[in-house]
Subunit: 345 residues, 4 copies
């Protein structure tokens, strides 16, 4: 068993890591780290863990961690991991960061996060952990920059189409819908039940920090810089994230030809499911699981394509993909600890 620590113990990302790792055969959580709640039991904040996780949370002690653990999951807000991971870069500890600290170039990070970027040498080592696309790079990485929830869903649908030269890389529109857990554990007006329930509302149009993340990694498969129009919406549900993506086709395709292509593109991947013609992904079809479901429709009237991808934002969009990456880094079966059937209904 490899020993793992989780930093950012009281956020939703950490809680989901704990839930999923419970049944992992090769990883055991030996430390849960929270600066603000060190000394407390996690069940004081999360009563559902009563009697299950009885470990006290600890303050961060880098030197101790280095010696005692094999894998470090960082599930803290942006701006934390970039100050911690450098201490581990010359150790054998595998670092998997769920924040945005290592996803962008230094310039982009400064612009979109408004913070000082990570040091260039560490940034360079970080591999973007989009498990089903950068599989090989991840296998040999020591630092993983786990993708954001929206980029995971958007890029899983977009990259194959760009890579296969199927779509125009100009004029791509991504309409994203996310459950409220995407706004995290912190209280806010937009996550207040009486405001969020029975409501759909766009937010951060054109200004979401996941825009440069999507563009950066999509561009790696294109001949030019890809720019996307990206709009997020809050949906009155807890979990789930759907991206509906609109693009112009480069050549004549049918729904069937696109689905065949996608099926082949992902045929060796365990967690991407290409739906049959006439079916579209539902977030409820992946709840609690690590699947990314993708459906497509070629609109011959307008020679354009609509492609939709659904994930559980806390699993495939965060903790599940982090574990998937840990599996790849350690040469284990990629599905280890992630064999959950979606919770339905």
């Amino acid at each position: 068993m490899k020993k793992a620590a989780i930093i950012g113990g009281t956020g939703y990302g950490a809680i989901e890591l704990i839930r999923l790792l419970q049944s992992h055969k090769e990883i055991e959580i030996t430390k849960i780290i929270s600066q603000s709640q060190a000394g407390e039991e996690l069940s004081a904040t999360y009563p559902h863990l009563n009697g299950i996780i009885t470990k006290e949370m600890e303050a961060l002690n880098t030197e101790e961690l280095e010696k005692e653990i094999d894998i470090l999951f960082l599930a803290a807000p942006a701006g934390v991991a970039k100050n911690i991971i450098p201490s581990f870069q010359d150790t054998s500890v595998q670092c998997i960061d769920l924040s945005g600290d290592f996803r962008l170039t230094s310039e982009e990070y400064k612009e979109w996060y408004g913070k000082e970027p990570a040091s260039a040498d560490v940034l360079e080592k970080a591999v973007f952990g989009l498990s089903d696309i950068f599989t090989e790079e991840i296998k040999s990485a020591s630092i993983i920059s786990n993708p954001g929830c929206f980029p995971t869903a958007a890029l899983s649908a977009l990259i194959p189409l760009i890579d296969g030269n199927k779509i125009q890389t100009e004029g791509i529109r991504i309409d994203a819908k996310t459950g409220i857990s995407g706004a995290g554990k912190g209280l806010s007006e937009k996550a207040h039940f009486s405001s969020a329930n029975e409501n759909v509302v766009p937010y951060k149009i054109g200004q979401h920090q996941h825009i440069p993340e999507i563009e950066r990694y999509a561009s790696q498969f294109a001949d030019n810089d890809v720019k996307v129009s990206f709009t997020t919406h809050l949906i009155p549900m807890t979990r789930g994230l759907l991206c509906t993506i609109y693009a112009d086709l480069k050549s004549q395709e049918t729904t069937a030809s696109i689905l065949d292509y996608l099926q082949e593109y992902y045929q060796e991947k365990s967690f991407v499911r290409i739906l049959p013609e006439g079916h579209f992904p539902a977030t409820k079809g992946v709840t609690g699981s690590n699947y990314c479901d993708i459906g497509a429709y070629v609109d011959e009237r307008t020679n354009s394509i609509v492609i939709a991808s659904a994930i559980d934002n806390l699993v495939k969009g965060a903790a599940g993909q982090a574990i998937h990456n840990a599996n790849l880094m350690n040469g284990w079966d990629e599905t280890m600890g992630l064999e959950f059937i979606p919770v339905f209904p």
Copy 2:
């Protein structure tokens, strides 16, 4: 007081007409017509009307209706109104049809609804009741074809931009989200609570009968035939409908210049609210009311625009707009009986 009858008494459209007309100063409902439930009280189906609406539903008797009523609201499924309205065309009865029977050309109707179209002469007389756009035509109409819920939201945002030559009419994408009441009163798997709750799913991509309706009326303001890519999503809430629309700009605009333009376009309309820069419409901001809220964002990075419009699908998207049209046809204040403040929270 003018006397009104409602056909299709047990659907959500009829129920909402009844709710809204309760406080209308110039219209009283004298007959509620339901073929399938004639003789029953409405409260047997809708207990919330207990003690409020005690009238029994009646079977349709055209001759009697002609003599007794002034306004006929038809809130039956597609295929019913086209067989009823012709009997009233030479009378003084004002007909307002909430179904799709008079919205399309005969050819389009056959193709998208798969039914025989209304007779050509009656079809010709019908005016498309998009109240805030076709205001003048509605004032002198005797037959109103009340718009669909999606076209109401989509066209309210699109027509000003096309009319003012602001956007390219190619490559328009409409991403629509609707509450489950849009699926009506009939039981179905997609409207089953355990399936619909905690779920977002696209449906009828590229095949929704509201597509030709949007295209037909948008085209009237363009130099060419407008084609749109239109995708609808079911959202786990009861009421509310949001369209997020993506288009390319024709010339350089800013968010402020577009909002100013829209503000001016709608300045004399009571029910369209253009939101200030940085704000986007929330369906909860219009629940239970006849407002259509519109917000816009010009993405200078991609020279494109995102415009979003929110309505209550059962009010502005159906019964409220029907009453708005009745007000216009009769020369009353357009807000009569529709002065409801949105129900919040």
Copy 3:
């Protein structure tokens, strides 16, 4: 038209008063008072009021208010009204307080609210505004203590049974379920969407400040002091409140005999609806309206009764009842401005 001011302008109670008074024929709101947000427009906090309520909120100026208004609605948290109402006691201003400040005896208030009580002379003048029970007293009152949401539902069901000597006054159990708006506008963990959604949880068992309120007014109809066991639950919906009440019968009754009795008890009241045998109240059947729906079942197996009452917590449980009381105090039709049909679906 009488002029009204609302104190506590940014809470849900005030917002609902504004919504409902919009269509009242005899009351116009001339001032909205908020100490914390004086000078701001209400729509800055509540965008759904954009273009509808454009009045700026003002700071409290008692002397000015005395001269300018006829009716004062106080919708502030507990502890505010008791310091304001005394200034108005020698004026002709009618005061209607929606907080708990005047509902209990001084001793009870100290014990359950942990604050200094209102001065005894003002407290004495306040009439408990349970509109359908204390109708006559309300008509001649100058200060109304508007009931809490739970007491409104609970007492509307209980008082007739106690008054008619139908039930044992020992062993009464009240199981209450409320939508999350009952927790108010303030952010809290229990009202955080991701915590509250898909969840039912009891809270404040045996410790809710509405317990002494229920007991005090129920006791007025009994020969002894009534004690109740009262448990509240948060339900994942925005509006609505249901009380399910369990009691032992004093003599032999059937469901029909109890329903007949209740029907007669409330026969002259506009807003209490006694449901027919076999039907039980649904919160959705009263949403947005001032109705209180009551159903009952006599369990002959255990010689006990189950009686359930449903209200909209923000209407009948707060703002609607306050307006009902204003109507009674002014000799207007009790339904004035409250003729709303429930919003369904």
Copy 4:
């Protein structure tokens, strides 16, 4: 590995068995049986199983089953199992029935289910599978009658109090709240999203078929026949079930003394969690898991007790408890395959 078949393949109970058994180390599902959909893939009905369960459903063939399987889970509606289980009574196949067919005496079954009861000899062999109470009996049973969802939650809270002589067995009131999945997969008005959402409503007051089930097994721990008043409510959420139970105490107790007693009563049980004083169970705290959380409050004002228990109706209230029973029958660790941490948020 033992081989299992599931009868009633397309109901929620069967689907949950499939989800949970996926990770069970000693049970593999070799047959899924559905009379109505034999020959179809389960994913045609449940797209979330796409690519996971690819087995075709089969028609029932009793003789074949006898030879091929070790454990038979019956998850069909009432009236099916009683005709199937007799064929297996002389075989080594362990039968676990999730329906009501074997829970009541013949007389009770006739009265409450309105059907012919199971044959007396088979009925006699069936052991009531309330895992944490009848643990020893279950270990040596060959036919298990798995409890209903409400009785599971209600009896888990009640039996210890009756068994320990803590409460009066007269005047017990059980107020139950269930998520809509409790109404099953079948379409119905009460499970229609637009009707069920934003709604709480009592149903089947005094007439639910779980009443005699609760009374029968509670009575086994009492000196007399226990009668309960039992009311169920539909809550707008998918999963989760909460029972709030009211009873009079027999002697003086404090909240602490009751909680200590319960803690001790269940100390060797893995899936019952007694919450600390001041905490009450939330359905969200057990979602997706096999836990039953119990909290209590002694109201010294009325010498009564409020005890609340929360379960996931589809896990502990159905499939999870069935697997728990299979574990007990086979001498495996009782938590095998059920080690899921609740899904939160």
